[in-house]
Every structure is written in structure tokens, then in C-alpha cells.
Subunit: 321 residues, 2 copies
Amino acid sequence: MAVYTEVNDEDLACFVAEYDIGGVLACKGIAEGVENTNYILRTEKGAYILTLYEKRVRRDDLPFFMALMEHLSASGVTCPTPIRRRNGKVLGELAGRPAALISFLEGVWIKKPNVEHCGAVGRALAAMHNATLGFPMERPNALSLAGWETLYSQADGRADSVQAGLDAAIAEELAFHRAHWPQGLPTGVIHADLFPDNVFFLKGRLSGLIDFYFACTDILAYDVAICLNAWCFEPDHAYNATKGRALLAGYRAVRPLSDAEMAAMPVLARGSALRFMLTRLVDWLNVPPGALVKPKDPLEYWKKLRFHQRVAGPAEYGFDL
Amino acid sequence: MAVYTEVNDEDLACFVAEYDIGGVLACKGIAEGVENTNYILRTEKGAYILTLYEKRVRRDDLPFFMALMEHLSASGVTCPTPIRRRNGKVLGELAGRPAALISFLEGVWIKKPNVEHCGAVGRALAAMHNATLGFPMERPNALSLAGWETLYSQADGRADSVQAGLDAAIAEELAFHRAHWPQGLPTGVIHADLFPDNVFFLKGRLSGLIDFYFACTDILAYDVAICLNAWCFEPDHAYNATKGRALLAGYRAVRPLSDAEMAAMPVLARGSALRFMLTRLVDWLNVPPGALVKPKDPLEYWKKLRFHQRVAGPAEYGFDL
């Protein structure tokens, strides 16, 4: 939630002149996106999001993200799409960083999602998965099993400072996934970060998906498991089976899930909880003392993980089997 | 530069329903304003700034700021103006804070102002001063002489940790102002914080003034002195007489300055530099170790103050007398 890079008005005018969007009317840094710097740009032709890609995003990955947004938009998935420059390209440079102009998507994200929101997210996620099947590019998931091991080593034995016994428990969980991570399930391009702040609603209807900068090639059902963790737990960390059922029903109405995908859901949900717990843990351990930005609590995801560990099968999520 | 308060989508919808502006299309926190939380709100009727007043702004001062913006707008000064609610009031409450919806002003602020920008700012400042003469409300300047003494006591003898000898030098400067601060000059409502980030330009023309939350009743020429400090020094802290001349000429073309106001300029400029040096000093001394937000350097304003101390009279600023 920060503007990492200031943009000079003269540099901005030169950047905008590379597009057929008229002159700059206003440009304001917005407090969204932890990885990049984002501005709302208003020009004579409309409103846009101007994104400067900071160093946490690999430059080599940018063509994948740009092409994916274009492909999804062209396939009827409502999402931001990069605007083409006069030279036909979508990436430029501004303030020494790769930069792109992205269409502005209307809608607000829902702070307290209800059952209907969960159903809508399930349907939108399945529609996105169906649309990515024709997408030719691939990007390995840097935050899958091997990535979790790397994160664990970055925690460097300090997990017990967050909760006694956590370090050994993570090691055990990693060993479980090495042995049980599902093989042979359908893969495709997944969003991989479809939290409530990345889904916009307008007048009660889902108006679009944003932030594809974790998108990668992985098990499609893993994306469903991520959403279960992100949407179907209450603030007290209790799983809400009604929301889980709605999310799954919404998804399956658009893309059926095989028996193998359903059976794998508890393991995928455990893995997803572990993934977000680990990134939060590393952020938590590396925050400078007295920092003004409070990192997210890794234990929230540890509690979710513990829930999934105790689940015997997909029926316990309240899914209609 | 922060969003201090998150706004729930449901609370926002209720708040917006109090206005005749249609439904919410988008709402994004912007990285502007150090005192308040600001969002760009897009509704079916247009774009607005939604401001939540945080605790650094006194609630009792809000009616003054609201009325001032309305008065200036009605007087032809291009500035944001509060939107009236269905009940005729301009202040509401959102997320437990006083909140107002303000018109959206187009333009961008200039990172490296040139001589023409300085002339335009002088003219706009004088036009604002002329417009405030008919404004009936008053607000004492909390950051004038008595406020400087308070800030100095808050620095609590620690100024020497920033620069050796600074503590005694400030005490000496405060004594100078107690003895020499001008009396009897024309007063009115001043902006008191007209830095480049509070002045918007569009296609080379000044398009408006923003951020009236330091506005108060004080010596009009003191506002000119604040602008001299804010606009007419180069990044190496050297005074640029061409810019100073342009700013003064712009101002005097719209509101003449008396001989007494001109003669007081060096003292007013010293006082203005001291005021910004002191607020920066207190912020600097109170920043938590490891904080992600770097406070502004108080010594920048100490160098400007030292320049004004050596000035013998207004002619040395390059002004046409």
C-alpha cells in the first residue's frame, strides 16, 4: 500500500504522448498494490491505471502478465487490459521502471463478503479458468512446493519466535506435501491471489477481477482452494460451510470438477494455507522495528491450515458431492 | 502520504446515499495529504475527493475550512469545494470520522517549477487574498510566534542532535522574532501552505489551489513569504532571484503590496523558514527508528532561514521596488 516511485509531470506528459489517449488531466498515486506503484490517470479520453513495475516483479514475467490480461479481456472475462502504445507495444518505461497503462475497471471490493459474493467468485474463477485454456504462454508457479521450501529457509529457524513449536510444525507440513501433493490434475493459468481485494462488485454484481501479477501455470483446483481460504473463513477463523458450498457450486456451474479434483481439495487447501502463511511469516520476521506498515498475521493462515489438516474429505467442507 | 482509515463498502454506500450524486462506481485511497485520509470516489455523476478528517485536524476547525472553500469557489478562485448533502450540510461521518465530499480538481502539480509557474502562483495567491477579504470567519494561526515557541519546547533540547549549535541558534531566532515581528500589516485569510504540491497546472496554466487545511487569519504578506521559500529556492538551496521577482510581480499585478509590506518581507521570510524548520524538526526527532516514511529534512529550511538572515532589504530578493 504505497507509492514507491514519484513521477515527474514532464516525464508523465512524454509517456502519455506515446498513446492515443489525449492529454493528462490528473494523476494521483493510489494506495493499492504491494508490489507495484499505481496511479489513477485521467486524460481527455478517460480514466486509466498507470502501473510502474517495481523490483519485486521480474521484468521477464511482464510479457506473460500483459498477454494474459489481453487474452482474458478478449475472451470475455472482465478484467483490466493494457492499452497499446502508438508503436503497438504495451510496455513502456517511466521513471526508470517498466510501466504500462491499464484500462480502469469500475467497482469496489467487498470487505465482508456474503454467501452470494462467494458464489459469484466461484463462477468468475471458473470462467477465467475456461478462458485460459486457449492461452499459449506458461509461467511456472514460483510459490509452489519448491518455493515453500525456500520461504521456510528464509524464516531461518525463527518461526518459533512467532509461536512456540511452529518451526517443527512447518517442517512436518512441508514433508507431508512432498509426499502427498496431487499429481495429474488438470492445469492451466491460475490467478493464484484471488482475495476479496482483487474482485470488484458493482450494485451487487461481480464487475471484474484485477491484479494478475501472481498468475502462473498450476493445478486449476488449487486456485479454488486459494479462494476457499480467502473467502470462506470468518474473522474468528471459523470455516463457513455455507460460503464454501456456494463458492464450489458457483465454480462447478461453469467448469465441472472431476472426482480426483474434489478428492484433492483438502490437500490443496492445506498447501494454499501453507503458502500464504509462509510469505506472511517471512514478511513478519523481516519487518524493521517501529515500521509504520504492520505486516499481516501469519498465524491467521496457520489456523486455517490446522482446520484443513483435520478435514477427512471434501464432504466436510459442505460441498455437494 | 497514507490511507489511515479503511472504508467499508456498505458504510460508503450509505454515506454516498446522503448526496444527490448517484451510486458508487469506484473508490480508491490516494497517497496524498499527510493529515487526512483521501479517496478518489467515482459515482454515476462524476469524480470527487472523499476526505476523512483524522485526529490531527481539530473538528472545531472544519466549518471554517468548508466555508472558506465554498466562499473562494463562489468568488471565482478555482479550488475544490465541498458538495452539499441532501440535508444541506457539507460534513458527514464515515468510519467514525468527520468526512466530506469535495469536488475533484483537474491538474497535476509541478515537480520542478520554472519562472512562469512562480509568476502564476503569485497571481493566484493575490487573487485568493482579494477573495478572502469578504470572508467573515476567522481562525488564529496556530503556527505563528506562540506556536513556534511550543514547537521549540517539543524539540526539548534535542536540536543539537540534528546539527551542532542548532538549539541555541533557534532560541536566538525566536528572540529576534519576538522583538521584530511586524505589526499593523494588512491581514486576511492566508493559505499558509501553498507549496508546489498544492498548486495544480493544466497545459501550462494554473488550474487551481488545493489543501486549505492550514488556512488561517494572519498577515497577507506572510503568505507571500511562505511562497518565496516554497517556490524560489533551487534544489541546492540557492535563492533564485528571477523566480522571486516573477512571484512578486505576479502577486502585485493582482494585489498591490504597500511599502511597509515590502519592507517586512525579509523578517516574514525568516519567520516562515523558521516555522517549517520547526515542524520538520519535531517530526524528525519523533520519527520511530526504522520507520518506512522518511521525514523531511529540517536543515533545508535552516539553510533558507540563514539566507534571509543575511538579507539587508527587499531589493536583495530581486524585487522591483
